[in-house]
């Protein structure tokens, strides 16, 4: 095994070069005045969205909004409930300009852009106790691995969210496992959001506008996963102007085109990304021998977003995503290894406004995730396919009674098809029959109805919701019954559409905000969540080999209760936000493989015979401090938490730490505007190490050294810490062409963070000479990169 390591590492170190950048220039103060066209009454809290720079403003009590933007021409949208939305164009030439906007009252308006009201004290005013919203522009500045701006990575720097470690882009939210996060791209779920084992996520920053992560106080119209919802909204191209963006690095490049289709009505955004290092290496390997045994890897992804404003009452959009990763390694004729996975998703969303306070949104979506694994050694070959496909629809009605109360209600239905493990084995030319492990497809149907009511009562803002969800495993399906000696006794057949097993859950959700004063508030939330899909974890380190299985007769749905209480404060007139939150979460029906089960060689005839079930328990304190104004901005997030699991069949029902239990998790993110041209960003992370199950004793059998394991997850790896830095340089601007250079260094002081540990035994007991060493495998050393980004 060790012989293959250095190849890939050399490959990585040699070719990784990429980053991203951002811009700054002289900005002039501007005042927008928004008033009623007929009465000239100022419209307080009106929303202004300046498209070109993606800036959100909210008018104050005088109907005025102040900001600073650089000289130039801009397109903007102004909205206010009860008034006709206005699109207008304005030009800024000098300081202290006043832009006056008059809005006409109307009965028909529509929300076409999700405007994020960053009012001065939104942080304390909103009832969001466990949500954070991040806009695409905010993450563009942060230094990431290879400088690739990555939404999923930026989320890992928030409190309560832990990265699963290098090599995997998954997240653990408040003690929940990897499968407990619902990742939505315009309502379509994404099952494996990783490219290159976590180097990049599948989200191309060019095609997203913002994302929200909800880890507590989850509104009732979201469900299906226990721990979090990551709601990513696609970016809509402008329907008046063309724009092109691109990013070039040594490893991969991306390009996006934004085109209006029908002026002022519809637009199309197409973006694509691909690695090209594989093509370069292939070309080189013909002349350089040493490159012949290199692993072969590529990924690509494509996003298509089409948005159409049919009328003032109707708007629809269509998004499509397709991405694939393909890794292959071959050594001579005797060893080969391949792994590939792909996500394909599409969503169609329609918004209809019956009137200004009653809006309906209908979504239809599909998501298809496939994973293929292949291994061959000498004459044995193994191929394994696994996948999950969802087709669903969601309907949400939003009713705004008045400023202080609003209601949402609706329903969702998802049809699922699982192909957990289809194994094809062959020994030389003989196809081997694997009847018990070639699981035929499994089908399920999940439905939910929800209602949410938000009301402001004095100092309290209450968001109460109820979600009722149900799941049925459907036929065609065969359930086998075997005896203790695994002899097949009987089988029961279910036809297509028959209900094999069914479950339902009531999920109440409550979030309350108590306003102490303008700058201080107390928030609490209680959530019950249920989950009917499960990721069966086969590796001690997460790799894209985990399989998705449905709830079934033997696998009951997962469920959780979470309670959180937080204190929120803003300081310095809104420049600083701070919060301290404690949470407590209890999870039921958590899944693990039974002891001694080899993937594909379980002891039962049914796909769900090899699991064992137990409880999970997590509690923690999250501290957060954020500065979002001034030359220096950034945040500090710290989580202190403990996550344990308890299974009857493991360690005699004694609690053991979860694999990802981490006592400390600290992230520090900073952005500093050095000058007009230069911006520096930095990230520092520090976390306790993950746990591992390692042997505690050894003994001899037939002269061989054998390991004796203690309790589950009995070892803790050394702490993880890393410092990244990046610098963005605004290159010259010519006409409408802008460019940036991004220089970044990942893992500045080259810490060899442990990916996992194992014990290496060498020598011979017979010669009274045994040497045992603890070895640690690390992934990413210091990785500098440069990339070039352009827009026109």
């Amino acid at each position: 095994m060790r012989i293959f390591i250095s190849f890939f590492r050399a490959f990585l170190c040699l070719i990784f070069w990429q980053t991203g950048f951002s811009i700054y220039a002289q900005e002039l103060p501007v005042v927008f005045k928004i008033a009623d066209a007929e009465t000239n009454t100022p419209l307080l809290k009106a929303h202004i969205y300046i498209e070109d720079i993606e800036k959100n403003l909210v008018a104050d009590f005088d109907g005025k909004a102040h900001t600073e933007i650089k000289a130039g021409g801009y397109h903007a949208v102004v909205k206010y409930i009860g008034y006709e939305t206005k699109y207008f164009y304005f030009e800024i030439e000098k300081k202290e300009q006043v832009v006056e906007i008059a809005l006409s009252p109307a009965t028909l308006t529509i929300e076409e852009v999700t405007v994020n009201a960053e009012a001065e004290n939104a942080h304390t005013h909103s009832v969001d106790i466990g949500s954070t919203s991040i806009k695409a522009k905010e993450i563009q500045d942060l230094p990431f691995l290879m400088g690739e701006a990555d939404p999923l990575k930026s989320i890992q720097y928030l409190p309560g969210v832990q990265a699963s470690g290098e090599g995997n882009g998954g997240i653990f939210v408040r003690g929940g496992s990897l499968d407990q996060n619902l990742i939505l791209y315009d309502n379509a779920p994404i099952y494996n959001p990783n490219h290159l084992f976590g180097f990049f996520s599948v989200f191309n920053v060019n095609s997203i506008s913002q994302f929200d992560i909800m880890k507590g106080g989850i509104p009732a119209h979201f469900g299906g996963r226990l721990s979090s919802v990551l709601n990513i909204k696609s970016r809509k191209a402008s329907n008046t102007r063309k724009a092109f963006k691109g990013n070039v690095g040594f490893l991969a490049g991306s390009f996006a085109a934004e085109l209006p289709v029908v002026k002022n009505k519809s637009s199309l955004l197409v973006s694509a990304r691909r690695t090209y290092a594989d093509l370069i290496l292939k070309g080189l390997s013909s002349s350089i021998d040493a490159l012949n045994n290199q692993p072969d890897y590529y990924f690509y992804d494509v996003n298509i977003n089409y948005d159409h404003q049919l009328s003032s009452k109707d708007r629809f959009s269509f998004v499509f995503y397709r991405g694939k990763d393909d890794f292959a390694y071959q050594q001579g004729n005797s060893f080969r290894n391949t792994i590939a996975w792909a996500n394909t998703t599409g969503a169609f969303n329609w918004k209809h406004a019956f009137n200004s306070s009653f809006v309906a949104e209908a979504s239809f979506y599909f998501s298809d995730y496939k994973m293929e694994l292949g291994a061959g050694i000498n004459n044995y070959n193994l191929n394994l396919n696994s996948g999950i496909r969802d087709v669903g629809g969601k309907l949400v009605f939003s009713l705004d009674k008045n400023e202080k109360a609003s209601t949402q209600f609706g329903t969702e239905i998802i049809s699922r098809r699982f192909t957990p493990n289809n194994i094809a084995l062959s020994s030389s030319d003989t196809e081997l029959d694997v009847p018990n492990t070639a699981t035929p497809a499994l089908y399920g149907l999940e439905v939910a109805a929800f209602m949410n009511h938000k009301k402001e009562i004095g100092r309290f803002l209450v968001n109460a919701g109820l979600r009722v969800s149900a799941f049925a495993q459907l036929g065609p399906f065969t359930r086998y019954a075997g005896n203790d000696n695994n002899v097949l006794l009987d089988s029961v057949n279910f036809n297509k559409g028959d209900i094999v097993a069914s479950y339902s859950n009531v999920e109440p959700r409550l979030a309350i905000r108590y306003k102490i004063d303008e700058h201080n508030s107390l928030k609490t939330s209680i959530d019950r969540t249920a989950q009917y899909v499960h990721l069966a974890p086969i590796s001690s380190v997460s790799l894209p080999t985990d399989i998705w299985v449905p709830s079934s007769e033997n696998i009951r749905p997962q469920s959780a209760w979470q309670v959180a209480l937080g204190y929120f404060k803003t300081l310095g007139g809104g420049a600083w936000e701070t919060s301290a939150t404690v949470y407590h979460k209890l999870m039921q029906n958590q899944l693990e493989y039974r002891n001694g089960v080899i993937f594909g060689y379980g002891t039962g005839y049914n796909f769900d015979d090899n699991f064992t079930f137990g409880k999970g328990h997590s509690t923690g304190l999250e501290l957060f401090l954020k500065k979002h104004e001034g030359r220096l901005t950034g945040w500090l997030a710290y989580t202190l938490s403990r996550t344990t699991r308890r299974f009857e069949e493991i360690d005699s029902n004694r609690p053991f730490p979860a694999k990802y239990d981490r006592l400390h998790d600290l992230s520090l993110v900073g952005n500093y505007q050095l000058s007009k041209k230069w911006k520096i960003s930095t990230v520092f992370v520090l976390a306790s190490g993950n746990t591992l199950t390692l042997p505690t004793g050894r003994y001899l059998i037939e002269g061989r050294v054998v390991n004796d394991y203690g309790t589950r997850n009995n070892f803790r790896m050394p702490a993880y810490h890393r410092w990244d830095i990046s610098a963005t340089l605004r290159a010259g601007k010519k006409d409408s062409y802008s460019a940036w250079w991004v220089f970044s260094i990942y893992n500045l002081y080259n810490r060899q963070n442990p990916y996992y540990l194992y014990f290496d035994v060498s020598g011979n007991a017979e010669d009274y000479n045994l040497d045992i060493e603890a070895k640690k495998v690390s992934l990413f050393p210091i990785l500098p990169s440069i990339s070039y980004r352009f827009e026109f």
Binding site: F8, I377, G596, P695, Y758
Partner: protein, 283 residues
């Protein structure tokens, strides 16, 4: 197909650096008795007793001698007869002490209970001797890439319906002192029940057997010991061999524990073999 599943586990390795770790917090360890015993048809029972040691304890001759158990009372019984095994000494191998029967020889179809009494504790295990399996054919294929080595192939027909488990050993005359288990020696018929199964015998070496070390040399005379074993016996070797390969592999699930059939307080195995012997000259 455990063989193949294991190959699957060998799959890819993302990367990078490997370093020795200086200091790790090591939990305390309680030493346990280890029973390594077997009985075959027509042969006396043989049991080796040792003690397990903490993983990071020093290994030197003194420590290894501490691991020996030579004062236990070891007995077997088939329900009718019983015998106390005698302590023998064999300086050729480690450990140099072992217990062996002198009266009862194994018989096909019988169940044998092993009782070990040591330091005030009693340990028990049960196994059975199943009918020896039959090979269909055993042949040699010279390695096309290398003139001096060859691959040994084996084919047999599995008994349908009944769960069958096998274990295979080879001994090269003049080179191997005793029968050595092959690479992934424990095979279950889960994937070829009732069918012919053909595979390549690889000798057990350090690391992945894709080198010539795992093959046989031209001119070798090889004895093949092809055995039937029961399920508990199979589970032990299956989990032991899988664990030996999984170590260092991020793919392996946490449940690496080896399933002993010697009870809760003892490690190891007490296994019965129904053995068939074959001989082939590699040429």
């Amino acid at each position: 197909m455990q063989r193949i599943s294991v190959f699957f586990l060998l799959t890819f390795y993302i990367s990078a650096c490997e370093q020795t770790v200086g200091d790790l917090d090591l939990p305390d360890y309680q030493s346990k008795i280890v029973i390594d015993g077997w009985i075959e048809q027509g042969r006396y029972a043989e049991v080796t007793l040792t003690k397990s040691a903490s993983y990071f304890a020093d290994i030197d001759s003194a420590a290894l001698r501490e691991a020996l158990v030579s004062t236990a009372k070891v007995s077997i019984s088939d329900g009718e007869n019983s015998e106390v095994l005698t302590l023998f000494r064999n300086s050729d191998k480690f450990p140099p002490f072992y217990y062996r029967g002198t009266k009862m020889r194994g018989e096909v179809g019988k169940s044998y209970k092993l009782t070990v009494e040591s330091r005030g504790e009693t340990y028990e295990a049960v196994t059975s001797i199943l009918p020896p399996p039959k090979l269909d054919s055993l042949w040699v294929e010279i390695d096309t890439e290398n003139d001096s080595t060859a691959n040994l192939w084996l084919s047999f027909k599995d008994e349908p319906v009944v769960e069958n488990y096998y274990r295979i050993f080879t001994q090269r005359q003049g080179k191997d002192k005793k029968f050595e288990a092959i690479y992934l020696s424990a095979i279950g018929d889960r994937y070829f029940d009732g069918e012919n199964f053909t595979f390549n015998i690889l000798r057990n070496t350090q690391g992945i057997p894709d080198s010539n070390e795992a093959q046989f040399s031209i001119g070798d005379t090889v004895m093949v010991r092809f055995c039937s074993i029961d399920q508990a016996h199979f589970d032990f070797w299956r989990t032991l061999e899988r664990e030996a390969i999984s170590i260092g592999n991020p793919f392996s699930s946490s449940g690496n524990e080896i399933l002993s059939n010697t009870g809760e307080n003892a490690l190891g195995v007490w296994g019965g073999y129904g053995a068939s012997y074959y001989r082939i000259i590699v040429k």
